[in-house]
Structure formats: structure tokens, C-alpha cells
Symmetry: C2
DNA sequence: ATTGAGGCGTACCGTACGGTACGGTTCGGC
DNA sequence: GCCGAACCGTACCGTACGGTACGCCTCAAT
């Protein structure tokens, strides 16, 4: 008798061994979207398929747990909003953009988003939902308070925080993500990412600066 | 003896029957990414699998032809650049954004991009390349001359046309496409699309207006 | 030492699907 | 009318993979 896999998976609901298994799945996912098969994961993680089914229910449960496991790795960096002036707000936004672009263009993120996108096309919408929640929506949730704090401090000016955030998103990401997802080989360098984050900050202030 | 399928597929290299078959594949693709199987296409198009293999070589050839067929449907609307003032440039850019968002959020585009994204994760990079070419890259190719004409007419000001285009892309698309790809149900209404295109135009002129 | 749970490795089953073969039908050319 | 090409429908094959069963090992608890 095995309890059904938990609905949410995070750092402390998994044993070390289970984390190893999910890391194996992630690795398998990163180098070549195919090959991510139950047998493949079992071989890579040196465990038995039966264990996989016992722990994660079925293939979909394994994939879901893998996505959640990766999502739980990305930690939120809270922003100190007490000493907020135009300079620190700009620095925070620019760092935000830099971190975001770095994650977005990483192998793991690309592979994970590819998986979620392809699964969103079938019935199983849950992977897409999870990645959505930890992607754009999560970014919005962390970014909007910062923007609103900036507005409250009279540093920037906008009516709708959501619209402002989405504009910032567009200025940062532009066509980078879709190009990566579609297989563009060229990955932006660290310098290009930094330059792009700086441009996004400047442009955001040009549009919304008070 | 059948000649290998042509490397490029367009409106005039296909018979009507073949177009019907590809449209059947498109339809199958739109309602549920799975189900797009050789048997399924044959059944939906009322043709035999043998014919599919004769015409398109293998499954990958069929998919490639399908993507190219859809791409060939999207026609370019050339812009008259003789009578270019700030108003007409703005109108052209806004229409550009509106059309682009309308296509992006359409069922067919979403399904096609999902297919291309998932295939870009495996060896077969060609689908991604085709969609890339007809997506962001194609948009850039059509948009950049317009921007440069605007610059030559002293209406807008920028150093790098590519950077300017990508900014415009970001202002128009923002997180709309990735959200659709990840399965977000809510599709923007025609009014929202129009409003967004208008905002993108205003913001672009605010950033780059001479 | 015994025992039982947890887990590894492997063999196995059923199914779905890519790809092939073949008989039957339609149709244009002679 | 006759022939061959093209094509439809279907049956078939091989393989890959999701999922299950089972034998064996390890190890902790008693």
C-alpha cells in the first residue's frame, strides 16, 4: 500500500534519494528531450522502474515532480523596500532582468519550458500551469510589489501595475525566449544579458519615470 | 519510383489534394497536439497512409510540409514608404502589432509553435528553424525596413535597427506568446489586442521618437 | 539469527504508432 | 474496351515504451 504522490513537491517533502532521481530526470531532459523515458530515468538514477512508479505514480507524476523540483530550486531574492530611491530601484530592476534572462536562456529552463509547452498542447495541462506559475506569473508576483513600492515612493508613475510589469517583461525578454525555445543556437553572453538588462531599466524609466 | 519530396513547399508546388491533406494535418494539430498520427491524418484526409509516405517521405516530411504550408498562407503586406510621415508610420506600426498579436494568439499559430518547440528539443531542428524564420525573424525582416525608412525620414532615431525592432517586438508581444504556449486559456480579445498595439506604438515613439 | 520492508535489476505484457504490403477501385490515355 | 498509374482501405510487422511482476539483496528492528 503506497500513499498517492503528494500534490505538491518541494525541498522538504522529498528524500535525498528522490531528489537524486529527479535530478537524473532533469539531466536526461536537458540533453535531448527524447530519451526521457521511464527506463532511461531508472537507468540513469540506478533505481528500478518499480520504485519510480511507487514514488511518483506514473510518468506524468514523475514529470510533474521533476518540474516542481526544479521550480523549488529557484529561490526568491526579497528586495529591501525601506531604503528605496531611484538608484536602488533601478539597480533592483536591472538585477531582476539580468537574473531572469540568465535563467531563461539556461539549458534547464529551455528544456523544461519545451516539455511544458508540448504537454500544454495535450490534455495534461498541469505541467504548463506549473511552469507558468513559476515563470511569468511568478516573476510578476515578485516584481509587482517592487514596482508598486517605487510608485508609492514617487519614483515611477503608472495606473496599472500589471500593465507596467508586462511592459518591463517585454523590454527585458523581447524575443529571446521564443528564439531559444525554437532552437536558436546562439545563446546571449553574460555581457549581452547585462547590456540588455541595463537597456530595459533605462527604457522602463524613460516610459514610467516620474 | 517517386521523387523525394521537395525541400521547400509552397502554394504552387502542391496539388490541391496535397493541400487538403496538409490542411487535415493542420486541423488535427489544432485540436489536440496528440492525435497527429499518420493513421489519424490519413483517416481525416480520407487518403491512405501509403500515399502519405509516397508524397512526404516520412512523418517528419509530413510535419515539415505542414508547417511550410501554413507559413506560405501568411502573406506579407508591403508598406508604402513614399508618403511616410509620423502619422502613417505610427499607423503602420500599430497595424503591424495588431496583426502580429492576432496571428500569435490564434489556434493554428499556438499549435504550430508548440509542435516546433517540442521538435526543437530533439535532433530534428528543422521545424523550429522554419517557424523561427516565419516568426520572429520574418517579422524582423518585414519590420526593419519600415523602421529604417522612418529613421531616414527623420521620424524616429536609433543606432541599431535590430535593437529597435527587438524593443518593438517586446513592447508588442510581452509575455503573451509564452503564456499562450504554456496553456493559458484566456485569449486576449480583439479590443485588448488593439489596445496593446496602440500602447506599443505610443511607447515605441516615446523611446525612439525624434 | 530471524524477519520483513524497501529497493534493485530484469523479464515480461499490452498497446500505440511508424512504416510496409497488398487487394480493390477509379480514371485518363490508347 | 483495355491497360497502367494513382490512390483508397485495411491488414500486417517491428519496435519503443508505459506499466507490472518477480526474484534477489541489504539492512534495520526485534
Amino acid at each position: 500500500m503506497t500513499p498517492p504522490p503528494p500534490l505538491t513537491v518541494s525541498d522538504d517533502t522529498l528524500t535525498e534519494r528522490q531528489k537524486d532521481v529527479l535530478d537524473a530526470a532533469l539531466g536526461l531532459l536537458v540533453d535531448g528531450g527524447d530519451g526521457l523515458t521511464m527506463t532511461g530515468v531508472a537507468r540513469r538514477a540506478s533505481c528500478s522502474k518499480e520504485t519510480l512508479y511507487k514514488w511518483f505514480g506514473d510518468r506524468d507524476g514523475l514529470l510533474t515532480a521533476t518540474v516542481q523540483w526544479q521550480a523549488s530550486k529557484v529561490r526568491v531574492v526579497p528586495v529591501d523596500r525601506d531604503t528605496l530611491d531611484k538608484r536602488t530601484l533601478g539597480i533592483a530592476l536591472e538585477k531582476f532582468g539580468r537574473d531572469w534572462l540568465t535563467v531563461l536562456t539556461g539549458d534547464t529552463s529551455v528544456a523544461l519550458n519545451r516539455l511544458a509547452v508540448s504537454h500544454a498542447g495535450q490534455e495534461k495541462r498541469n505541467l504548463g500551469r506549473i511552469v507558468l506559475e513559476n515563470g511569468p506569473i511568478g516573476m510578476a508576483r515578485r516584481c509587482k510589489p517592487l514596482l508598486e513600492a517605487g510608485r508609492d515612493a514617487g519614483l515611477v508613475k503608472f495606473d496599472d501595475a500589471d500593465q507596467a510589469f508586462r511592459t518591463f517583461f517585454g523590454l527585458v525578454v523581447r524575443d529571446t525566449q521564443i528564439r531559444m525555445l525554437l532552437g536558436e543556437q546562439r545563446r546571449p553572453s553574460e555581457e549581452q544579458i547585462a547590456a540588455q538588462a541595463r537597456r530595459a531599466r533605462e527604457q522602463f524609466f524613460a516610459l514610467f519615470g516620474a
